[in-house]
Subunit: 468 residues, 2 copies
């Protein structure tokens, strides 16, 4: 009933009717052309999303939880959303664990001394004011480390040399990141003094990749650091020779401090004209690592979803449903902000109709995978057909649960669209000093912003219940 | 007379006769095929030159004048040349000025604070134990800085934003490097407190490019630093806004210390069998900057010329002339080692018959430009014809004076071959932390080593006087 009503209303006021089970395909497509084409034409010419990334990276920069940049970013986002014409803008505060990077020096001390470029993993403890120096034990990957005999790493530094693979969908990350997350505790269980790994990254820059790690309960906490890929090569070239290789590490990374800091999700809404209680979510995360300026991760996402909200807020027609743009806090340290969001919005979760996140950088979208109810698929196919000339194919599967932060909303029942961009270069910059504005593809971000704006409009006005 | 004799000798023992003005082209080409093809087949299969770079970068690493690595490199090179079968190996010591980099921090302090990635230019003074903080004055290039009114930079930090162009022959370097060399004194003459510039480099990495600068006599010495390209972008984006931008710099770079350190050219010879007093030189430089491991600049050169010497030393036939491989010291800080070489070898300079340097990194050789006497050109054309199937064209000009160190030998009268490799990526890594082994193109170095070995053999056995 509700859907029928929305359909009638939408038709009455000339809204797009993509996805309605209309018998008159031609008439329906005419409506698409009128509204979606108007969005497409306007957005695809605009540099707004790039300008937003420029503003964020220039006026704020890095914004790791617990740093001044994180608070600056909150203020920046509120002001930006207001200036972009959102109907409502607010923040939702919660608490996250504080971790501090401090300084770090790493070197090979024998047989051939070299200073190394390394970076502490997020959450790592330091070396307690001392320098740890020990022989390196090499492991090809996490599994090999886990299979090392008990006690075999006593007095040694464990090194995992697994090299991340480059793939368009970034699935090399999943194969590599396990060592980062649980490698330190795996090494500590065998007696290691410290855990060193090849950066989880596809570049060849003398820049380390950070990222979150976790200590297993009851296992000794040892320092965890990543070498830049060229430094990992150097270490491995040395290990291939006969002599033992000794490694020296000094870091005052804080480890778990037990302290918490206030974080804030920043939320902006374009209120729906027909069913404002029904929410379409567009997500990105506002925090970044402290290295780089977080242009790629996730400045681009912020640019895309704020721009999409802006365009829809400024259309003559109002969206039927509410479009809610959420900049989630503390994504990098474990999806903290979105969990708080779900807890706070439990009551309205059933009215979260559909969501999409942008947290995968630069490339052009090549695929849309839905995660919707079967009755909604016809409409999704119509929308995908509309996107097809922009190079977007519809995945054969319908299993999307939401990307990054949105995965937590997916667990909470929100249907999702996963847009897959070409991620070939994403892990060149991910979590590094190299994540800066110049890496943003100014053509691709226009196309992707256009698609997200089309998505938001479609989702808000299709009248489809994406859960059914 | 001498040349005729060599010709006859060469013919008698089956040496290649490339370049002899033989009326029987076919017979001559048969000789080419036999000896040069043998070299080509052997060398093009071998990884020796890459293995040498691997050894140097792993066992020595960076080797800036005045650092322990420089002395390590001397010992490494002597041992390597001996193990490679050179007939004679020796060092020639001299003195070079000591400069020490120290530490550096740079940041934008207003209107939006950012830590910056910057690097002191070679030779720069420091900030005398204090932090220099001042408003930034922007200049598009060195010329604009030089045209600033007298006194207009009083109390300011001068910034030159010129962005190096990428070209296959690297000529963008010449257009950009002037600011690096004389920008500090140009800024000081207008009253500036410090000189900051966009790195001379074509990359977009968060890594600064160092390189030598010079202070003008009688002008106040002010600190000179280069920003990484992304940091230069950030600074310029901020300068485009309305508010004044203030910059903070702290460096304890030593400036000219007045102290000298011992440097050493390392020289290895394959002694000529017919006219050993006639010398063919193959050059590269043994020093590097302290950042990176000097794989590209000039580890590749060292790998190529040592491998070329090795192959010829191990041929059944001995070269007619002597092949002298010279690893010049202190190239980076102003061609110091080669000047000492010329001074020490003044007497035998007239018997330096032809030379070639490798100091341009990675790319495949696409061109040969000679700088020889007109009578030698026919022979050079024949040799170039032999190389043509390997993708090497002969330049229309005959004005080569020698590259890098060899330019000083060129000034001293030595004829030269300038081999031009594709240098499109050279300035991505030049003088940076990113100059590491993984950047070495393992296919290209085989081809280039083959060409240099062919060159050495040809030059040593052609019998041509390249000065005539």
């Amino acid at each position: 009933m509700k859907n029928k009503l929305v359909t009638l209303l939408a038709a009455a006021i000339g809204l797009t009717a993509v996805g309605l089970a209309s018998p008159d395909l031609k008439a329906r497509q005419t409506v698409q052309t009128e509204v979606l084409d108007e969005i497409k034409q306007q957005v695809s010419q605009s540099t707004l999303s790039y300008d937003i990334v420029e503003s964020l990276t220039t006026e704020v920069g890095p914004r790791m939880v617990g740093t001044p940049g994180a608070d600056l970013a909150t203020g920046w986002a509120v002001a930006k959303m207001k200036s972009l014409g959102f109907d409502k803008v607010w923040t939702e505060e919660s608490q996250a664990q504080l971790w501090q990077r401090g300084d770090l020096t790493a070197s090979i001390t024998a047989p051939y001394p070299h200073k190394l470029v390394a970076i502490a993993l997020g959450g790592s403890v330091g070396t307690a004011g001392k320098t740890v120096e020990a022989e390196v034990a090499y492991f090809a990957d996490l599994k090999a480390l886990q299979e090392a005999p008990e006690g075999s790493l006593q007095g040694k530094i464990a090194y995992v040399g697994y090299r991340m693979e480059r793939h368009i969908d970034g699935h090399g990350y999943g194969k590599a990141v396990g060592a980062r997350v649980i490698g330190a505790s795996a090494a500590a269980q065998k007696g290691a003094l410290a855990f060193v790994m090849r950066s989880v990254g596809t570049d060849t820059d003398r820049i380390g990749h950070t990222g979150m790690m976790r200590y297993e309960e009851g296992v000794k906490k040892i320092p965890a650091v990543a070498l830049s890929n060229p430094d990992a090569d150097l270490l491995e070239n040395m290990l291939r020779r006969d002599a033992p290789v000794t490694f020296s590490l000094n870091t005052n990374a804080s480890g778990p401090t037990g302290k918490t800091v206030t974080i804030a999700n920043v939320i902006g809404e374009v209120t729906g004209a027909q069913t404002p209680q029904e929410v379409i979510t567009l997500g990105a995360h506002i925090d970044s690592w402290d290295v780089g300026t977080g242009a790629i991760d996730d400045g681009i996402g912020i640019g895309i979803v704020l721009a999409a909200g802006h365009y829809i807020a400024n259309m003559k027609q109002r969206p039927a449903r509410t479009i809610r743009v959420i900049l989630f806090a503390a994504e990098e340290i474990g999806l903290v902000g979105v969990r708080d969001y779900v807890a706070k919005h439990q009551d309205e979760m059933p009215r979260h109709m559909l969501g999409a996140e942008w947290d995968f950088g630069n490339g052009r979208i090549y695929q849309l995978e839905p995660g919707v109810g079967p009755a909604a698929l016809n409409s999704v196919r119509d929308f995908a057909n509309y996107l097809a000339p922009m190079g977007v194919s519809l995945a054969e599967t319908n299993t999307a649960k939401g990307q990054s932060d949105m995965s937590v909303l997916g667990e909470a029942g929100q249907p999702a669209f996963n847009f897959a961009p070409d991620g070939l270069d994403y892990f060149d910059y991910h979590h590094t000093e190299n994540d800066t504005l110049d890496k943003v593809d100014q053509d691709a971000i226009k196309v992707n912003t256009t698609i997200y704006t089309l998505f938001a409009w479609y989702a808000a006005n299709s009248g489809v219940d994406f859960r059914l």
